[in-house]
Symmetry: C2
Subunit: 387 residues, 2 copies
């Protein structure tokens, strides 16, 4: 029996994690969970599970829930998140938080000897150098939940890192893959939220459309697998069946494949190194999937990928800036304040104005994050004012 | 430094093995080799290497070579093959013999504690139950050299056999893949020898065209990986880029990919568990390989696959009969004595007339092999006489 805690239990990763735990009650116990403001979904979870600790975002919900569930202990706010991520009996913490908020709970979890099933890529993108150090020091396992990194992680099973030639991350190309930049100038939020293959949260769906997501994954892969950026490739694979690959020194490519279903890498992160049957998973049917296609990524069509590589190679605080600028820009788009392509422009301008700090500390990272967000908002206001 | 010996050094697998050893002189020593009658190629090998023992097929060549190379020890015949396969300092024996002749040397090698890089699938197909027992008893490694089984072997790296759902063997479909049975009725030997993707020996190229080869591989996979026939699938994959796959319990598929080049699995069998760079190997270029295609195998189009599954499920001596009947039938076709489709008919009739012996001993296997060959030849003569 493995004891699991979930950060962000009402999100896309969190709710799919709940489904997996619910399908495998003989294997997992739900220790502690955090949710943001989706109290209705929390109530649904509490009809299925009785976790020992529940964290909500604000005091108001905390007060309501405390009297509603007298048998469950509640907590709230950032301190509450830390309590969830360090819950004593927990073996693995699933970090399904979205955005930079995921960083500090990951750090706390590692420092308390927890294994991490990590979906929150911002943790690695902004503080990969610090996380890697702490993982080593506290001897915990960090297992990626992202389908691409889970695929790479699986392709590395039984292999030696030193034999890697390159990582090949596959990308669906997002829902506007077959459109030109001219054609996507005026797309609506609704149009941008239709992902062809994966069912994911709003922010990550937009990131998939701009391919900023793939950019973040490139940076994440660099840190997770200790591979130079020069040895990381991205290719468009519109079917999202091959989730990523490793080319080894002897030119052998190992690929991990399956139907696009986030529950699969989530479950693997929990059962690793074992694999278990799950009645909800659909096997690939080569009678239906008769063709897998590949094409190169055009950096002009997808400047976010190029910017991510550039930021990664610059290193230090540049990846934090890429990530924070992207988060703020996507927020502005989702709030219908900027057109789709301005996401890229805002990131570009922000990265351009940043002076890189080498090996930033956690404090510096958090500072840069704040400054970057302010910079993006001010940039937006300036542009708006001049129109 | 690993000491290697090669059975069948002048064949397709043998000569490619020689190339690999020649490219990696810092890693391998060539201990002992056998060749059949290709003495010219043997001389070429001896201009590159000075093995400690060389076996030829017949006494005549033995006498000539002894005086030609006074510094090299020679031997000949079946006893000579046994000497090669048990050469004292050898770590791994590459068995690149073609046909049933490969069986006894493999047994001798295992009994003498040698690891086997096995290309001779007849060894496993006819005596899989005996080989598996001996491998366990003598605690040696048998690493498949066939691209399909090497792929499965690699997909199993770091995984647990108990988590396998099914094996998916890929098949090019051979050079007549896009033709109907009607269209291949009168094909010539030359036409049948043109394999679209792989450069291999004549017998195996014909086997690839009838897909008897895939049938043998199904049986081999059953024994090598201890998987029931019901859990082995074959799919047509015309590009031969994915060399085979495993579907695990959690529906994850691991696939091993690369350019079709037998040198790759041969080298892997020698370097396992490491992988090494080889300047002769071409990496996959997804700029060129833009599409991978799959289609089901039609058992009516390729009856040899169905017959192999049937023989495998019958078990015991049936797989020996399938293999020996196929060998003789292919020989008759290559000698231009029977039309292409009669290969299948001869195998079918022979299998149909056989009474299966459960758990045959080595002696019984060798007997059945002889009887089967005689049966096929007599069948051919009878048919010929009645025409």
């Amino acid at each position: 029996m493995k004891n699991i805690s979930i950060l962000g239990a009402s999100g896309s990763i969190g709710s799919q994690s709940i489904e997996i735990l619910n399908n495998n009650r003989d294997k997992f116990t739900l220790d502690a969970i955090s949710v943001g403001e989706n109290i209705d979904y929390l109530r649904k979870i509490l009809s299925l599970f009785t976790p020992k600790l529940v964290c909500v975002k604000n005091k108001n919900h905390f007060d309501i829930l405390k009297s509603e569930y007298p048998n469950i202990r509640f907590t709230y706010g950032l301190e509450g998140l830390f309590e969830i991520s360090t819950f004593p009996s927990t073996h693995t913490v699933i970090n399904g938080l979205v955005g930079n908020i995921g960083l500090m709970p990951t750090i706390h979890a590692i420092e308390n000897g927890k294994n991490i099933a990590l979906a929150n890529k911002e943790t690695i993108v902004t503080a990969g150098h610090i996380i890697n150090e702490k993982i080593k020091k506290h001897n915990v396992k960090l297992i990626p939940v992202d389908s691409e990194h889970s695929a790479i992680f699986q392709c590395l099973n039984g292999e030696n890192k030193k034999d890697i030639n390159k990582l090949i991350l596959t990308a669906s190309g997002g829902c506007f893959r077959d459109k030109t930049r001219e054609e996507i100038k005026n797309v609506t939020v609704e149009e941008a939220l239709k992902h062809p293959n994966w069912s994911m949260g709003a922010k990550i769906t937009i990131d998939s459309t701009t391919m900023a997501n793939k950019g973040l994954e490139v940076i994440e892969a660099h840190f997770l697998f200790d591979i130079p950026y020069e040895n990381i490739n991205v290719i468009i694979h519109k079917e999202s069946i091959i989730h990523s690959m490793i080319e080894f020194k002897d030119t052998t490519i190992m690929a991990q494949m399956g139907m696009p279903d986030m529950k699969n890498p989530i479950q693997y992160a929990l059962t690793y190194p074992d694999r278990i049957f799950n009645k909800d998973f659909s096997p690939l049917d080569f009678g239906k999937i008769t063709s897998l296609n590949f094409s190169p990524v055009d950096f002009n069509r997808y400047p976010c990928v190029k910017m991510a590589f550039d930021a990664g190679k610059l290193g230090g605080s540049a990846t934090t800036v890429f990530n924070s600028a992207n988060e703020e820009a996507v927020k502005l788009f989702l709030e219908r304040k900027i057109p789709f392509l301005s996401i890229e422009t805002l990131i570009y301008e922000t990265l351009n104005s940043h002076s890189v700090i080498k090996n930033p500390s956690l404090d510096e990272i958090l500072n840069i994050d704040r400054e970057t967000r302010n910079f993006v908002i001010n940039l937006y206001k300036t542009i708006k004012a001049t129109h």
